[in-house]
């Protein structure tokens, strides 16, 4: 799974398979982080607006 795992080899199969997995996980991670951070800011702004 990671280059520091003992069975890791720098070949095309590992790069394609694991690269694809990390690519998808990165998109999902960045997307959700963006949503959570923006929602926190939006909610704080709302809260400020009420007072």
């Amino acid at each position: 799974m990671f280059p520091f795992n003992f069975e890791w080899i720098w070949d095309m199969s590992h790069v394609v398979f694991m690269g694809g997995l990390w690519y998808a996980l990165t998109i999902l991670g960045i997307g959700m982080t963006y949503c959570v951070v923006k929602s926190t800011i939006d909610a704080a702004k709302d809260d400020g607006g009420h007072h």
Binding site: N5, S13, V16, F17, M18, L21, A24, G31, Y34, C35
Partner: protein
């Protein structure tokens, strides 16, 4: 206890029940009506009993091992893997409807996308649950990620299934956040809104992941060069079954979504989605099915006349000399489960007739399920060597119970989601008496 104490106790119970009912009605979406809480809980308990039966069988498999099944040297893949492939194909409605809604911008589909996501979520969580039982040692489930065999199509399936389940969870969360009470919390309200606005990114990722795992599930059968019933030529490393599986999931998945929608309408006694939305999705599904079935017929014809003979087999060898698999299964899959529903759904008259349309949905669901059955179980049954005989298999009750388990779980999740979440945006408009 004196009479006063009893009265007080009854009054306390009565207040508690009233409180529960008030809480229940406070969670139900605005502008719609639901059955009484008592009726809902009784229905939930009935389905829950089936679920518990499945959980019991699942625990037997986990604690006692796979000797609880009737799998053997011929059947390393059995009923579970068929169920797994079938629910993944049927759950394909989520990725394809999402693709149509967010990427192709078919805006009318916003009225059914929530339900497609819910059904997809149920199908994929069920698929993962079935795999967790099937591996026999769930505590080592993480090995497939940590010690990945990068030469296996099933590794790619495991990666894409897990990631796509994350996508479906991300798509389902905003629906939960839209519950009347949760939506009152500002953070959740904004989170739901922001997730909706970035949904195209998640939907595109989901479509990408689905393309590969649906395909690889077909690829697993197609690369079995030692099993001429499944083996196919293809393009580069991908056998034709790779493309046929993806294509069929996109074509037939929406039919399952529409069929479950129709069942929900029949049970609730309400119209939940407008006809124009149903007809649009049915039309797209019908044309996808038409193109798929043409490709499937060409593939079958080539396989029967070129691929199988090159391995020493005739078509009829795969459908004779046994007590179950006759040529009927090929007819059921391609004609009744493919050509007929496709012909109904691509015609205006067929789509507009509720009976014809619903028949097409049911036939389509049967068709794709039979296709997955054939590609998993018939492959195992067909004799290969001249001294082999047909290997027929019958699942144990534990296998049956654990296969029914996801169905019970799915029904319960649909019941709870339908009651408390605004799944159908057109429901209030279509049922003004509510």
């Amino acid at each position: 206890m004196n009479g006063y104490g009893l009265a007080e106790q009854y009054s306390g119970i009565s207040n508690q029940r009233r409180g529960t009912k008030v809480m229940d009605s406070a969670l139900i979406p605005n502008g719609v009506r639901r059955c009484s809480l008592d009726k809902f809980l009784v229905a939930l308990a009935v389905v829950g009993a089936v679920l518990l039966w499945g959980v019991y069988a699942m625990l037997l498999c986990w604690f006692k091992g796979l000797n609880q099944t009737n799998m053997n040297d011929n059947y390393g893949f059995a009923l579970w893997i068929w169920a797994d492939l079938a629910v993944i194909a049927l759950g394909g409605g989520a990725f394809f409807t999402g693709f149509l809604k967010y990427i192709i911008a078919k805006d009318e589909l916003k009225n059914i996308i929530n339900y497609a996501v819910l059904i997809g979520f149920i199908c994929y969580s069920s698929a993962l649950l079935i795999l967790a039982i099937d591996i026999g040692q769930p505590l080592r489930g993480w090995f497939i990620f940590w010690h990945a065999n990068v030469h296996s199509m099933l590794t790619e399936v495991a990666f894409c299934l897990s990631c796509y389940f994350m996508v479906l969870t991300i798509e389902y969360i905003p629906l939960i956040l839209e519950n009347r009470q949760i939506d009152r919390v500002p953070f959740f309200h904004h989170l739901s809104h922001n997730m909706h606005s970035t949904m195209a990114v998640f939907a595109a990722t989901g479509a990408f992941l689905s393309f590969f795992h649906q395909g690889s599930l077909g690829g697993v059968a197609g690369v079995l060069f030692g099993r001429p019933f499944a083996y196919r030529e293809g393009l580069f490393i991908w056998p034709w079954t790779f493309f046929l599986f993806t294509w069929s999931a996109a074509a037939y998945g929406p039919c399952f979504t529409l069929m479950v929608t129709r069942i929900t309408e029949a049970i609730s006694g309400k119209k939940l989605v407008k006809d124009n939305v149903v007809e649009l999705l049915a039309k797209i599904s019908g044309w996808m099915m038409t193109t798929y079935i043409i490709a499937k017929i060409i593939d079958t014809f080539y396989w029967a006349n070129v691929t199988a003979p090159s391995k020493g087999f005739n078509l009829i060898d795969f459908y004779s000399n046994n007590g179950f698999y006759g040529i009927w299964i090929l007819v059921l899959e391609i004609v009744l489960g493919g050509i007929v529903p496709a012909a109904i759904l691509i015609t205006d008259k067929g789509r507009k007739s509720p009976i014809a349309r619903n028949t097409a949905f049911v036939l389509a669901v049967i068709g794709v399920s039979v296709n997955r059955w054939v590609m998993v179980l018939q492959v195992m049954a067909v004799p290969i060597m001249t001294f082999d005989t047909w290997a027929l298999y019958f699942p144990s009750w534990q296998e049956v119970a654990t296969t029914i388990l996801p169905v019970a779980y799915g029904i319960m999740l649909i019941m709870i989601s339908y009651r408390y979440l605004p799944i159908f945006p057109q429901e209030a408009e279509l049922n003004p008496a509510d």
